[in-house]
Symmetry: C2
């Protein structure tokens, strides 16, 4: 069943059917009614591929997501998809591996399918070495790119983010201001945001006139989802003589590990050990005690990503960088 069949049944040309389909005003009410009747009768739906071929768009947004099962990213995913749908755009999902090559492939897949725009979810896409970001610049020549919670300056690339440095700094300051002297900082990523957060930690110490003890900064790479390992590593650090009365992390799951460590070491939280996480995820509420964490305004950031993308697609002038401010949500793991 195609547009010719409909035109025949309705006794009009395909041009008229097309006009009715696209709400053109240049159709008499009578004709429109007749055509619509046939369309409904035949349950006719225009072929999306043919339409795409002609218009060179299928109203699709490509979502590049490092890991759809991650709590933070899956939350963003849900918000993005829902928001794009409001604008009648559908989402093509592509979960890339962490390697540069895989991302490149993901982007190529999306552009080869002629998506109207691409959202890069999270900061893992922005590499420290500028040459490794060539793939973003190349893709931006074809379609607008929006970075969710990452920063990269380039034509046709738009960034919507949370000021993670400031948010982390305020969290560290809070720990200091509640009397903590030795704050162990655990981070899981050395990418852009990872560095920003760490910079926030350092800035907080500096702001209070405290020298940074590099021994208190620890990189826990692959343990993000391995609570027992985090716990054991912390126990080992303690065994080795490292003294700390607070653990601040770049990710909630690491904070969970810190709480488990406290239990294993028979340390009371928050009396003997303060714990602060990052992302303000549900995990914080599952823990006992509930964990203080940084809310990085995922909802607002995600929705703004969609608004920015739509603005760009509609040809409006859009800011290339929008920064939200995080907020420390205080719970029972801190004084």
């Amino acid at each position: 069943m195609n547009i010719y069949d409909i035109s025949e049944k309705a006794g009009v040309s395909i041009a008229t059917v097309s006009r009715v389909l696209n709400n053109s005003p240049h159709v008499s009410a009578k004709t429109r009614e007749r055509v619509l009747a046939v369309i409904n009768d035949c349950e006719y739906v225009p072929n999306a591929f043919a339409r795409g071929l002609g218009l060179n768009t299928m109203k699709t947004i490509g979502l590049l997501c490092p890991d759809a099962s991650d709590a933070y990213l899956s939350h963003a995913l849900a918000i993005l998809e829902k928001s794009f749908r409001k604008y009648h755009y559908d989402c093509l999902l592509c979960c890339t591996e962490r390697t540069l090559e895989a991302r490149q492939q993901g982007i190529e897949m999306l552009t080869s399918r002629h998506v109207d725009g691409i959202v890069l979810m999270g900061s893992t896409f922005v590499e420290t070495r500028e040459k490794d970001n060539a793939y973003i610049r190349n893709a931006a020549k074809q379609v607008p790119i929006v970075l969710l919670n990452a920063s990269y300056s380039c034509d046709n690339v738009y960034c919507v983010m949370c000021d993670e440095q400031r948010a982390t700094m305020e969290a560290t300051q809070y720990l200091l201001d509640t009397g903590r002297k030795n704050i162990l900082y655990l981070y899981h990523s050395k990418n852009y945001n990872g560095q920003k957060k760490l910079a926030g930690y350092r800035a907080a110490l500096e702001s209070r006139g405290i020298a940074v003890n590099e021994q208190l900064i620890r990189f826990f790479a692959d343990e993000k989802n391995d609570i027992p390992t985090v716990r054991d590593k912390l126990l080992a650090l303690r065994e080795s003589g490292l003294v700390f009365d607070a653990v601040q992390t770049s990710e909630d799951m690491l904070a969970i590990g810190a709480v488990k460590y406290a239990k294993a070491a028979k340390l009371s939280v928050p009396r003997a050990l303060s714990v602060v996480g990052y992302n303000n995820s549900s995990f914080c509420l599952c823990s006992e005690p509930e964990i203080t964490s940084v809310d990085n305004k995922l909802q607002a950031v995600s929705e703004q990503c969609v608004a920015t993308m739509m603005g760009v697609l509609e040809g409006r002038e859009m800011p290339q960088k929008i920064v939200f401010t995080g907020e420390l949500v205080k719970r029972d793991s801190t004084l």
Copy 2:
């Protein structure tokens, strides 16, 4: 840059270019090389819409997901996407609201875009009233449909699931066999799987010759993500005089609420109260104590969904129902 440009530059016809593009054996090595050189040189990528129009497929699978931010579903989403990609199929994501109308719309969107198949994620899509499932039957007339962890008998509909009744039954039996007398059963959904799980609970009691106390079966509808409410409702139940020494739930988050209740009521877990969840999610590991939960084999189920879909698309005969067996993962919230 289209196939004509390439054919011209290579000094061949478009048919030959097309053959090279599609790895047809009927091309001389010399010609192929020359054409490939031009293709690489021009960074030519065939137009996906035109290809779709001609072949009537863009190798796309529609994923209907009630909530991409849900821990269980987002995990399934990640596995599905990754597995489909292995077969060179891309995924169009559609997160439907819970209403029947929204689902209908979601399916219509996917079919109108001519996806090659649709995966319905979770059991919320199968309604108790047969007439409400007409939308599934109608969709199945157009494309194969695979149900992830749900059951529905219909032509062109394939189900891959976990035997949730049996898994729940075994969990309940375990509680009984460790000496629990009054098991409070908390469930959050009355859909197909919700009923199956409840049936498992009842079957377990029966198997041990114990009468079901209906007072111990409670429907906690919208509290799935509201831990404090679950806690408070349990406190109220206790206040009202209801006696129970175990809480079994249809969802891990409800179990988290039960643990929080125990703390508020100063009940030791598992000594005074056993707690069992369902889904074996990360939340179980975040809790203190860690929660015993039912592993419903999400990985295996998801991967089989993809295998089944691929089999159907390749024209192979596929079983319409595949059932995995769940497993109780014992942790510190039970004796």
